[in-house]
Structures are given as C-alpha cells and as structure tokens.
C-alpha cells in the first residue's frame, strides 16, 4: 500500500514539471510580440519598450527565463497580474472559495438526486420510471451547459422571478470574508443573518443546478448500472431469502457494494468541476476562478493565464491523485 502510494506521489513530479513547461511556453507561443501587445501604442517609445521587456524578463535566454519562473513558483510567487497589479496567487485565492462553493453545491445536488434516482431505476428496471429517468439522463449528459444555464435563467429568473440572474449575493449586504464561502459567512455576519443567507442561497441555486446537471446524469447512470450488477449477486438472494426487509437489502447489502464504482466516478467528476465552472461562471457572472481566467484571456493578462493554468492544473492533478489513493485504500485488490 505504502509503496503504491509513494509511486503515485513520485509520478506527480514529472507531470507537474511538464505542466509548468507548458504554461511557460504558452506566452512565448503567442504570435506577435507580447511586449507590443501589452503596451499598444506606447510600445513605440523604445525606452518604455526596453523597460517592459526587462520587467517581463523577456530579454534573458529562454532556459534562464524558465528556471527563474520555476524557482519563483517554489517561492510561492506566480507573478503579478498586469491588469490589477496584484500577485496572481492572491487573486487566485480571492476567487477560489466562490468556485469551491459553487462546485460543492453542484456536486451535492448531483449526489443527493443522482444516487437515489439510480437506485430506484435499478430496482424498477425496465419500468416507465426507469425509461424516463435514463432518457432524461442521456439528455442531461448531452446538455450544452452554456445554453442550459441561459434557459434556466429565462424560466426561473425572467418568467417566474424566483431567483436573481447573476452575482453571489444582494448588493445590499456587506459580508465580511471569513471562510470565503458565502453561505457560511452570510449566516455568521452581524448585519447578515438569515435574510443574507437566503439571498446567498437564492443566488447559488441556479448556477449549481446548471453546473450539476451533467454530473447528475453521470451519477444516476453509474449508480443504476452498478446497482444492477450487484443486485444479481448470490449474496443479495441470500439476504432476501433470509427474510430481510427489501429496503435493508438494497441500502445495506447492495448499495454498499455498488459504491466503489460510484465513488470513482465522483472523484473523476470532481476533477472536471473547473471545466463546468468556466462556462457556468461566465453565464451567471459568478466571481470565481473560471470567470477570472476567461477575463484574463480576453485581457491578454499573460502572467495570470500562466500562473492560473499552473494552479488549476496542479489542483486537478492533486485531486486525481488523492482519488487514486482513496481508491487503492478501498480496493485492496488494486494495490499491486
């Protein structure tokens, strides 16, 4: 077990280094001169041009540039945003809680609905409910979420007026940042309380629904097929023959054994949260990592793109590795 875990962790190093090379090369691959792109007309001034080039470190040899980039990363310095002049790392952690809150809500939605739906579909196999659910699952799985989010806004915000269109909370409330998760901060804030919490929650529901749709479909499909496999096993028949109540057999005997593939899928989905976040945050003006990165790309804020790519990729790689290790821990058979 320890050896397998160590191997996984050692495997991280070349991948992370590769990501840093990729992120480093990104800026250099841009056609045209990045200095001119940033300075615009001011680039005509040779003194300003030379200064900017030196500031960006572009006057040194490529290899030297890379190693100083890498060295800075180890010191926690991911460069400074050209637009806001603030450190990239600070900008990242300012926005990360918003994405985390949205992602957790979306996953909670996918899990709390997906697993029961999958179980019922498996028990009532080939019933009307099963067909409807699996049909809906396929639609959900094929959903272009950038369109789905807009449709949700049309129905729930414009037509029904139930939820706000964008943002994280009413501008009315000024919530002190403690955890960064607004659902918690608004609740604890002195001038917030329940009303602020309600506002934060109503802002969160629609984006989470949009972002959770594909994971919901995946979890429901996976739960169904995993349950179907387990329900055919001998020990389920034994448990039934013993006279145990059906719900107990399903929940205790079947679900527990069906959980391994479901957990694997959940882990993989967790890694894909960022992908969903980019589109969802753009639709709902959610001030998280996804919106930040898209804005930086449009603003050609290269240090942010470079640093952001390294941060996000490292996060995904780490999450996947943790999932892998948990998987090894849950499946002794997979350890060698």
């Amino acid at each position: 077990m320890l050896k397998a875990v160590l191997k996984k962790i050692l495997n991280l190093i070349p991948t992370l280094l590769g990501v840093s090379v990729l992120a480093f090369l990104l800026i250099r691959l841009v056609p045209g001169d990045p200095v001119m792109l940033l300075l615009g007309e001011r680039g005509a001034d040779p003194q300003m041009y030379a200064e900017m080039k030196r500031n960006m470190g572009l006057d040194r040899p490529m290899i030297e540039q890379y190693f100083s980039f890498l060295g800075n990363i180890f010191k926690g310095d991911f460069g400074h945003s050209i637009v806001s002049k603030r450190p990239v790392l600070t900008e990242f952690f300012d926005r990360f809680p918003a994405t985390l809150e949205l992602g957790m809500m979306a996953m909670a939605f996918a899990i709390t609905l997906g697993i029961p739906f999958g179980i019922i579909a498996a028990i009532k196999r080939n019933s009307f409910f099963d067909f409807t659910l699996m049909g809906a699952g396929l639609v959900g799985y094929s959903m272009p979420i950038f369109w789905w989010g807009l449709m949700l806004i049309i129905v729930f915000s414009v037509k029904l007026g139930w939820t706000p269109v964008s943002g994280r909370i009413d501008v009315l409330y000024e919530i002190d940042k403690v955890t960064g998760l607004l659902l918690i901060d608004s609740w604890m804030s002195p001038d917030g309380g329940f009303a602020a919490f309600k506002s934060a929650l109503s802002h969160l529901l629609l984006p989470a629904l949009a972002m959770g749709t594909i994971p919901l479909a995946v979890v429901a499909r996976m739960t169904r097929s995993s349950m179907l496999e387990v329900l055919g096993e001998d020990y389920i028949r034994t448990a039934r023959a013993k006279g145990l109540p059906f719900t107990r057999v399903v929940i205790v005997h079947a679900l527990r054994n069906a959980m391994v593939p479901i957990i694997t899928i959940l882990g993989l989905l967790f890694g894909s949260i960022i992908t969903g976040a980019i589109l969802t945050e753009m639709i709902f003006s959610w001030p998280g990592i996804g919106k930040w990165i898209v804005f930086s790309i449009n603003a050609r804020d290269y240090p942010v793109i470079q640093g952001g790519v390294v941060m996000i990729a490292s996060l995904v790689i780490l999450t996947n590795t943790i999932v892998d290790i948990l998987y090894l821990w849950a499946n002794p058979r997979m350890r060698h």
Partner: protein, 296 residues
C-alpha cells in the same frame, strides 16, 4: 436474450450481425434518423434556407417565431436583433457545426491513432514519452486548455478546430494504445513477424484493422464532444466570429436579448442539444453492436 432462429444454416456476415444488433437498439435508430436529418439539412443548406443568412430585413427586428402572437409566417423561427432570419441562420449553421465537428474528429483521430499506435507497439521509452505528454494535456481541464489554445492562436473558426482537436487527441492515444497492447500478443501478429513483415506493415496492416470497432465508437462520441466544445468556444467569443451563423456564436450574440427575445437563445442551443444527443445515442448503439464484449 432470445435470438431468432436463422432459417438457413449460413452464418450471418459481420455486417448483417451488426445491422441487426444496431436496429434492435431503438435509441440508436432514433439518433441515426435525427443525425441523417441534420446531415441532409447541412448538405442542402444553400438551397434549403429561405434567405441568405446575412441578409438584413429592415424593420423586422427581433420578430418572434411564427407560432407565437406577433410572429410572421415570413420568418418561421423569428428574426434576430439586426433583422436576420433565424431559421436560415440555423440551417447554414448546421453545415458549419457538422463540418467543424468532422474536421475536429479527422485531425484528432489521425494524430491520436498514430501516437497511440507508436506508444502501444514500441512501449518502453516511446510509450513513456507519449504517455507523459498525454498526462500533462489531460491534467488541464479540457475547456480551459481549449480556450487557452484558442486565445493563443487568436479567435476564429479554424483556430477553434485546432484548439478542440488538441484537447481530444489524448482520448484516442489512450484508447489505441490499450488496444494495440492487447492485440500485439495475438498469434496473428507473431505470424506476421515470423513472416518478416516490417513494423509499419504490422502496425497499420495487421493490428490497426483489428482495433477499428472501438475507434469508430470513440470517433462518434468524439464528434459530439467536438461539436459541443467548438460551440462553447463560439459562445465564449473565441470560436467563429459574428456574423458567422455558428450555433455557439449565435447564442453569444443573443444573450443580451435573453429577457426580451428568448427565442433567439432557445433555437441555436436546441440544435446543439439535438445533434449531440443524437450522436451520443448512435455512439452507444455502435458500441453495443460493434463490441461483442460489452454485450449484455
């Protein structure tokens, strides 16, 4: 499952077997019908569309669809903010989206298959180098990588094809590599080696044809993913540029009129959903029909 007793004792050809299996899957057949419909629309788009997709109708701004009060039968699905016929734009967009999807599949399938063949056949250092590269690309969330690549290359339809293709390549590499590694140990490969066939001959002539079924399934699913990702880039302003009638770009254009003219948003997205759904249904059907190992 009950199989119908064949009347004669001649065994089914693989093609017959495949057709029968595919036809039994209702979802796949529906998907295929929808797909053929969109293909037909795409191919005949210049003749089918009532108007030129760029034609501006003065005074006919943001007209609702014909079946809504205030709509006109002149514009069946309504008009957009500058008075262009939405139906005509969608019809032309069909050709664009399907074409873009196909180009993405061709580019990613071709490069992914070659790299996968090399990795699986030679193993050792070749494999390690290719798989490391794959790991790095896969570490980046696909949408993020696609928008970064599109931003580097600059916005535009052709660049979007490259960006989405690069993101899709690892899927093919991993699939082909795993298939090749399994096939390589088969007797027919050893026979070819003993016969003195060269590496390329064995890879392309012997192993690859035996890996085709899963590759075809992956290509179908890759087509739906490609169309979806290209539309997402269009939506983010990094794909096809207005006034190109690409579905994702149309969605982005329609966004400011979400409240007042919801039909402008509804139809392009519905087209994307239908095509992607149809492709996923066909892909599932193909997998069940082509891959006997996955059969129930």
């Amino acid at each position: 499952m009950e199989a119908a007793q064949p009347k004669e004792l001649t065994p089914q050809t693989p093609w017959q077997e495949f057709r029968q299996s595919f036809a039994q899957n209702k979802g796949a057949v529906i998907g295929l019908v929808v797909l053929i419909f969109f293909l037909a629309v795409g191919i005949t788009s210049p003749f089918l569309a009532p108007y030129n997709p760029a034609q501006l109708f003065d005074g006919a701004y943001r007209l609702p669809p014909a079946f809504v009060t205030g709509g006109s039968t002149k514009f069946l699905l309504g008009t957009d903010d500058v008075g262009r016929d939405i139906l005509s734009r969608l019809i032309h967009g069909t050709a664009l989206s399907l074409g873009v999807g196909l180009m993405i599949v061709v580019v990613s399938l071709f490069s992914g298959t070659i790299l996968g063949l090399l990795a699986g056949y030679f193993e050792k250092s070749v494999d390690r180098a290719i798989m490391r590269l794959t790991d790095i690309i896969m570490a980046l969330p696909s949408t993020l990588l696609a928008i970064v690549v599109a931003a580097i290359l600059g916005p535009g339809l052709v660049n979007a094809v490259w960006a989405v293709s690069i993101v899709a390549i690892p899927n093919y590499i991993r699939l082909v590599r795993a298939l090749v590694m399994a096939e390589k140990k088969r007797a027919y490969v050893m026979a070819a080696q003993a016969y003195g066939a060269g590496h390329i001959r064995i890879m392309v002539g012997e192993i690859l044809p035996n890996c085709m079924a899963p590759i075809i399934v992956q290509a179908t699913l890759g087509l739906s993913e490609g169309i979806l990702n290209a539309a997402a880039l269009g939506f983010l302003g990094l794909g096809a540029q207005p006034p190109t009638p690409e579905w994702g770009t149309m969605l982005a254009d329609a966004r400011p009129f979400l409240e007042s003219s919801p039909w402008m948003v509804t139809f392009p997205g519905l087209c994307i959903l239908l095509v992607v759904l149809a492709l996923n249904l066909v892909g599932d059907g193909l997998r069940d029909a082509l891959d006997p190992r996955l059969k129930k």
